[in-house]
Symmetry: D2
Subunit: 328 residues, 4 copies
């Protein structure tokens, strides 16, 4: 290994497993590994750096994180200050509210490949998300809850035009479950963005409600807030779970921001956890390098993609980060 | 092979390649193949059935279809009546407009793995989408165009509140390029839905415009139209490219529709082309069987998922469908 | 677009679908597309170049190509001179022989997600390969056939030590079905390599046979032939279906060959069709660029990876190649 | 949730992250999660069960586990009795020997997407495996070492015919590094199978050696031992990393074994860690359910597939297993 190499290469050292390792103890062992292991360890290092700087941290949530059991992880990330801004799919909010209402998600215990007959499930009022089942009753309770919230809003001010973020804040204020992502966000003052809210049960119930009474929600009104959050930040970080609309919506907030005085532009830190790969040209699988060509991620940003199911990688990363930077 | 088998199994017969096969000639050969080949052939059969019935056909477009060169395929699908409703990501509209304005997408000729230095691209005003390059100039022209449209709208009626579909119709009416997806849709009366429009350059330019003058676009106002399109249809079909918001938004239109008189509910036909697989629990990769548990796809629907890059599968399917049902 | 760009970039031009397009007519339309479409078209161009030069063409076959219905495509590739050397998994040979014996593969007509109960299949003597079923009877016939061949070999020369390639040639000479891959290869003088032959039903039946009588097959004896085929070739091309052992075994034949007089080393042409992507570090998903670092693929080779189910991409490529270079 | 449900469903409970969790503490939290998280936790439970019974445990190793840094994990699994039989690709043995000879693997520190120019690497004697670099020197040392071993074998008995397992045992006995997988296996009496050994640098060096002196290695001779290991076991378990030949070779050992007295057939336990999914029909991605149709995995086996990069999942599983069953 000559000098030129030394700068760009480091020796792969084998992980050694010991009994009773802490999660971060294991992650530190993975630092000198390659492939996914090395990337996972790098994600923890980047998150640690993010937390040690005065960084505004944007969390993007796509994929059925709540039905899979990641609700507490995410709610605690908000509650304990590991994230400052949330951009999510509507579905994760829907399932968060369902749990806040006392309803549950159920996991198919037998192998999903054999235990499932979706026509039978339909006939029995069960809805499937891979190996998770939700009962139709849960959605009925969601409808009652949302109708109540919409009615309250109408009573307060029938003609008020809300931004999506404001609407979600109003909904969050009607949630009492302290484990709710939306409740935690409202309590902590963390804004929640959901640009594709129409594409969720919230959208459906808004449609039903609007058959009777007005409910005005503007699709662009909260962009100013998101972009300001980026512009006003000293440093910016993105934690992207699964791609989709949240990924792009977070990154595009960097597109219109002027460069910093020191020339920095784009996100300073970025962690992406996704099972999508770049080869099909999809945005979800696009590399963080590609994001640099757009100025979404800074040229010198610390950035890593962990190609992994987020239900595996997120708990590991958060457990390791907790060991290093405990905010409780 | 006993009788029970005969009903559920059919013999795999090898494809035989001949010179000068038509695309559908090849696809017909794939019918008795398994894995992806069989599914591709089944997709063509289902599309043919859809077209022979009085079916309202919903097209969902996710992934960078326009930058990859699928713009004419999609515009022609609309123009020639192969689809009746479009639900798309904002990005595909942005890139459609860019081409309508005379700007181009460029393909990196050398291998994308070695030819690309994203920091260099950034410094030289180029933006990358996998192996496609767009120049910053193209986005500058987009901005001028959109500002012009927004100004026109303001002059017509400053305080009018648009639905997203109405806004897109207004934009489409300002496009003169007959190869434009949006232009074709307006010309043909095909409504275009884009629930996550804020998550695109259109969103960014709306934000910039709104710094100066009002532009009111409601996030829920066009749901009524989408749902009516589903409810009023004699039969319904979905062609889903790549998952994402368009997939779910199309399918959720079925969730609130009452069952048909003959008991049918959900989509009667569904074709999904995606590189996502179900194992990570994502909606994009969810099977059409899973969609049956929700009532999104009918219990007896003809439905198939082709696990394939849509830039490969879509042209093949459309070329084969054209041979069978020529609408020109 | 400045001059520098012109060399590296070309305009993406939209595919236009016409009725009654030939397969190559469509593929030519895909040439100026990006993502998978562009790569598929490039694969056809590279194959055409390969055929126009005096190229020794190595075909690697992994994945269940024969059960899926690709047997005739591959047999015809051999018969008509589109390939000169075959490296395969044992399984594809096993299933080729099964069909040669008059047995069949069956496709599950209903959706594989719901129609399958693997425990039931086991109880009823059916073996599943995704959506393909083989009956236990087929393997019983295979056993009889192989035992007959092994007996013949023993009668000819009990203590002869065969290379794997020689053993396969002996087997192929006992096949009468002209559609058999192995039969075609023997008839055409195309050597068939199968380094992991022990990892197949042929291996199992060899083991059973060896309980009674000797059968000596050396694992390294045919490497000389493979390497000579590479070294003696004027130009070399690889068509890799699905990765695995065949991919590496083909490429490693280039590792020990001296550079050509003109400095060329490694394969001159390479086409890889795979659903594996590089991000997990697997050899199957490794890029052809990576192969250049090893000298497996030449620095100036024409090489492309089509990320696609081979049952879709192979028939399209072969139909298009037939239109350009008809060898029948 | 009615009674019928209770048997098949269990409530998804959210993971809660605490500071200083042990790896198994975290894994236990994942037990009531869905998707990948639940499957990872189930893998640990199954491994624990395997270890508590008198189970013969077969480890299949595909993918570049050693270059990625998993060498110690695997060597310790052998040393500490977590596995009893190893089936591997040749490449993992090659890279194990390279490290045993004091050579190293290096990781590219910068992002692999930008830091890599494979033609430059070739010119500078570096070989790439995704983000790992090996120097040509390492392979030169391998050649010297293997030549030495082959010479020793020739001196011992020029005409002896080895099985692959025997050859690997001889090689292992010449390794002095106690961290070597092959050395540990020999020391512990764990047989190592490598059916595709010809498809590796060991194969290449055998070929070079055989130009001068005989080296006879039979491809089928060690199948008897593998099958006996299966047949003689009270209970059998498979831990499959990454699919490929090792996966099938392990499972096919169950195909010819008679059913147990209690009717059991196939593997009693199976854990599969893979990024491959079943949709393309490949053996690597085939489900363990599919394996039941063949009798490779028992009808009542405890079996789970973790769809994950093995460099992430394996260390987690092993750290958690160590906490539960410490064999040191």
């Amino acid at each position: 290994m000559d000098n030129e190499d030394r700068e760009r290469l480091k020796e792969v050292r084998g992980v050694r497993i010991a009994a009773n390792m802490s999660v971060d103890g294991l992650v530190r062992e993975l630092r000198d590994c390659a492939f996914g292991a090395g990337r996972l360890a790098e994600a923890v290092d980047i998150y640690e750096d993010m937390l040690k700087e005065n960084t505004t941290k944007f969390l993007g949530i796509a994929g059925a994180m709540v039905p899979a059991g990641m609700r507490n992880v995410i709610a605690d990330m908000i509650r304990e200050g590991y994230v400052d801004v949330v951009v999510t799919t509507g579905a994760n909010l829907v399932h968060d509210i369902i749990e806040a209402l006392g309803e549950h998600h159920y996991k198919i215990v037998e192998d999903v490949d054999i235990a499932v007959d979706d026509v039978w499930l339909r006939e029995h009022g069960r809805d499937r998300i891979y190996d998770v089942i939700v009962h139709d009753d849960a959605f009925a309770r969601l409808e009652d809850f949302l109708r109540g919230v919409f009615d309250k809003l109408a009573r307060k001010a029938e003609n008020k035009r809300y931004s999506i973020t404001e609407l979600l804040k109003e909904i969050g204020e009607n949630i009492t479950d302290n484990d709710s992502i939306l409740r935690c966000a409202v309590a902590r003052g963390v804004p929640v963005f959901c640009p594709a809210i129409a594409d969720s049960m919230i959208g459906l119930h808004a449609w039903i409600y609007k058959q009777m009474r007005p409910l005005k929600v503007d699709v662009f009104d909260d962009m100013k807030e998101l972009i300001s959050l980026f512009c006003d930040a000293e440093r910016t970080g993105a934690i992207i779970l699964g791609g989709g609309v949240p990924k792009n919506f977070i990154f595009q907030s960097a597109l219109v921001a002027p460069a910093r005085e020191d020339g920095r532009e784009g996100f300073d830190y970025a962690i992406q956890i996704s099972t999508n790969t770049p080869e099909d040209g999809s945005l979800s699988g696009a590399t963080l390098e590609e994001a640099k060509s757009w100025g979404k991620v800074g040229s010198n940003a610390k950035a890593v993609t962990v190609y992994c199911d987020a239900t595996i990688a997120l708990p590991i990363i958060m457990a390791a980060v907790h060991e290093r930077v405990d905010r409780k």
